[in-house]
């Protein structure tokens, strides 16, 4: 099980600031979003617009071995400024 940090509307929809998710190897952005959607279907529409961050860096198509992953996060559309 991996801990995935949640923020903003995503954290509100789930009622938690982080969740535990089962993920396949290698870890990819698509795998994190698919596991989140399966576990918390109410996040589905927001998830479509989320990015994934591994170790506090946005990822796109990269693949990660479990040993490379220290911190996972789902990033809803940002709106600072």
């Amino acid at each position: 099980m991996y801990t995935v940090k949640l923020f903003a509307i995503l954290a509100e929809q789930v009622g938690q600031a982080e969740v535990q998710l089962q993920l396949p190897t290698p870890i990819t952005a698509g795998a994190v979003k698919a596991a989140m959607q399966a576990a918390f279907p109410q996040t589905s529409s927001v998830l479509a617009d989320c990015l994934v961050a591994v170790n506090q860096t946005f990822i796109d198509q990269e693949e990660f071995a479990p040993s490379e992953v220290t911190e996972l996060a789902l990033i809803p559309p940002v709106s600072g400024g």
Binding site: A8, I9, A53, Q56, T57, I75, P77, S79, G80
Partner: protein, 135 residues
């Protein structure tokens, strides 16, 4: 040297401006974003900002160092917490030798902050609550 921060307390515009000053940089451009009352016909009372703080600091540092490498001082501070009308949400400042660069880099930085730094706003409007970036 750049200064970046995610701040839980009100921004001290004067103190942030002072960090930018240097004898080699004669042009200082700052952008301050404040909580605005009206967006078209939507009236806003307050905004709550949250951040993925560690990652936001990393992103701000990347942005600041990229610009400073071209010859500038950079300060970027974003507020988190509950903000009222006219409260400062973000301060972006660039000091450079020439004003054209300072304007260009300051505008680039605030646009980049809005596009890629993990900070979110929850807007308390008269009609309902809105999450920024979603509608």
């Amino acid at each position: 040297m750049h200064y970046v921060a995610i701040a839980a307390q009100p921004l001290d515009v004067q103190a942030l401006y002072e960090k930018l000053k240097a004898p080699q940089f004669g042009g200082i451009v700052t952008f301050v974003g404040t909580v605005r009352q009206w967006t078209a016909d939507v009236e806003t009372h307050a905004i709550e900002y949250t951040a993925y703080t560690e990652m936001a600091l990393k992103e701000l540092t990347k942005l600041a160092t990229t610009i400073e490498a071209q010859g500038a001082n950079v300060v970027i501070v974003h507020r988190v917490g509950h903000l009222a009308l006219t409260d400062e949400a973000v301060f972006v400042g660039v000091a450079a030798a020439h004003r054209g660069d300072a304007f260009k880099w300051c505008e680039y930085l605030i646009n980049a902050v809005k596009q890629q730094v993990p900070i979110w706003k929850k807007e308390f409007d008269t009609d309902k609550i809105r999450w920024g970036g979603l509608e």
